[in-house]
Every structure is written in structure tokens, then in C-alpha cells.
Symmetry: C2
Subunit: 181 residues, 2 copies
Amino acid sequence: MANFEEKTINTKSIYQGKIINVQVDEVSLPNGKTSKRELVKHPGAVAVIAITDENKIIFVEQFRKPLEKNLVEIPAGKLEPGEKPEVSAKRELEEETGYTTDKLELVTSFYTSPGFADELIYIYYTDKLIPLDTPKGLDEDEFVELVELSLQEAESYMEQQKIHDAKTAYAINYLKLKGMR
Amino acid sequence: MANFEEKTINTKSIYQGKIINVQVDEVSLPNGKTSKRELVKHPGAVAVIAITDENKIIFVEQFRKPLEKNLVEIPAGKLEPGEKPEVSAKRELEEETGYTTDKLELVTSFYTSPGFADELIYIYYTDKLIPLDTPKGLDEDEFVELVELSLQEAESYMEQQKIHDAKTAYAINYLKLKGMR
């Protein structure tokens, strides 16, 4: 691979928040000049492609403040410090959907926006869902509504941009390639 | 759709950068309580799935400071103020790859990380590439290397996590669904 490394000359912390930290790094470029890079540090995230016994995909609808509107997405959440992604995925599935599972397969992982953020999301798959007797609570500032859709309905939601985020767009193509109907 | 709207009580600007702005909004939740939302404002982005006459996919390799490593990605860049996404996509294709095109199809768009950022990326497709006689320059702090891969090679890069970002993961599945071999 080409060596385009940008060595850090100086790091300035801008903000340390509950979910993100923001910093500006002064870097030396491959041509010897210097530049600034604006960086968002994120703990990472997990998402679950979950299929019910009735061949429906499980989504959650929630208000997304950055967009000032609701989106319908596959269940997801951020990694807690020190938490293994698979443990996190099971926890988010339980908290957001009322289902649990004994079988999560890792589908893939990807950086959501590598130009400015280090968020890495792990995508899991399960079609072995077990309803929880006692639903687990959400975080106290989290409000979501469960939505179960066929693949065809999900594609229609995507055309209408009710579904409109990277991980869920990925999930729909993944299921199509897997032969779901 | 459920009404989970979070009304803004107060907005605090944290940082106004070259690419991102960061703000913290105090919001009233559906249950009447208040909470804080950390928001990254981004101008939006474009990416191009570009196929050569030799049936290769065009990628660019570059150093991604947030990850401290190189990634191989489909050509992409951020929207300039007031620029139409299609114009931006053609410009980024020309700057990063040395090709241009008269035919860009919009494949889809999605928010990359709706939990904390408003970045919306538009994905275009072209298999009508025209080599530029005079390559256009990159931004002065941008260093990329062109990589042309077959679909099979691209999948191998993804297994090795040389390809490891949302838009490129989406692009590979898109091409598989389109019947590329």
C-alpha cells in the first residue's frame, strides 16, 4: 500500500462529550507541508439484522436529532466501554426489540464515515429469535417503536426514505443476496 | 410514524471547523424530561461506483487520519456549498481518478451515522468512463492512489479489511446484485 501517512504534530482536544470526543490534529503531509484534520472519536457501534419466524425483518423507528426526523433502522447501539461487540449486539437486541437470541453471526464490520470519524460498526445476523418474558428497559433518554416488515415492504420504505441510513441500506442488500424473499 | 420528536430548548455551538461543525442541543424528550444531544453537522458527500471498459471497479487508496491507516474506497468527497450532488460526483471522479463521464445514475443516498451526524451521502454509478487528457489536480492536502480491481479482488480486499467503509461495502453488494462478475 502507498505510504501517505500523516504524522501528528499536535493534537488539540475540542470537546469531550457523553458519546463523542472531538479533536483537531495538526499533521505533516506526505509532501512535507502541514494541514489540520478534524476528528470525531466514537466508541463504535453494533447493529443486528434480525429475522422473525414469520420471515419479517425487525426494525426500530426513532427520532434522530441530527436529522430532525424519524428514521426506521435495524436495531443498533453504541459499544459500552470494554464490552465485546457480540455482547453489545445481544444487549441492544434485547433492549430495543424484546427478543433475545443464542445465535448471532458476524456479517461484517465497516467504518461509517472514515473522512472525519473513527466509528466502526459491527453488523450481526440472526434468525433464531426468542421472545423475552420480561422486556428489558431502554436507556432513559431513548424512545423507539418496533416495526416488523417483509423484505418487499422494507424496500418500499427505502424508496420513501423512511429507511435512509448506511447500515440498514447494507442490511437490505445483504438479505437480497442471501436469497430472502 | 410515531411522534418521538425532541424539541430543541437550547443550542450550544462547540466548534466551527473547515469540514464539520459541532453543537450540543438541550432537548425536551417525549416523556417531558430533558436530555442533551451531541451533533456533528456535515455538508454531505458523494461517491461514485465507476466501472472501466475492462470490467474493473475504480477505487482510491488514501490515509484516513481518524483511523491512522490507509483505506481503499470508491471515489468520494464532500459537497461544496451550493453544489448539486451530481456536479460534485463528476468533479470528485475527475479529481481523484483522471476519468470523467457523461452519464451518472443516482443509485441511492443514505445517512452514514444518524445517531450523531447529519452527513448524507449520494451514491452514483457509471460504466461510461472517458479518460481525461489533462488530469485535474487534487486538493492541496489530498493524496490518493488509483486502484482498479475486479469484483472478486474487491471482495478479497474486504475480507482483509483493506476495504472497510460503509459506502464501499454497499457498493460491492450493489454490484453483486446487479449481476457483475
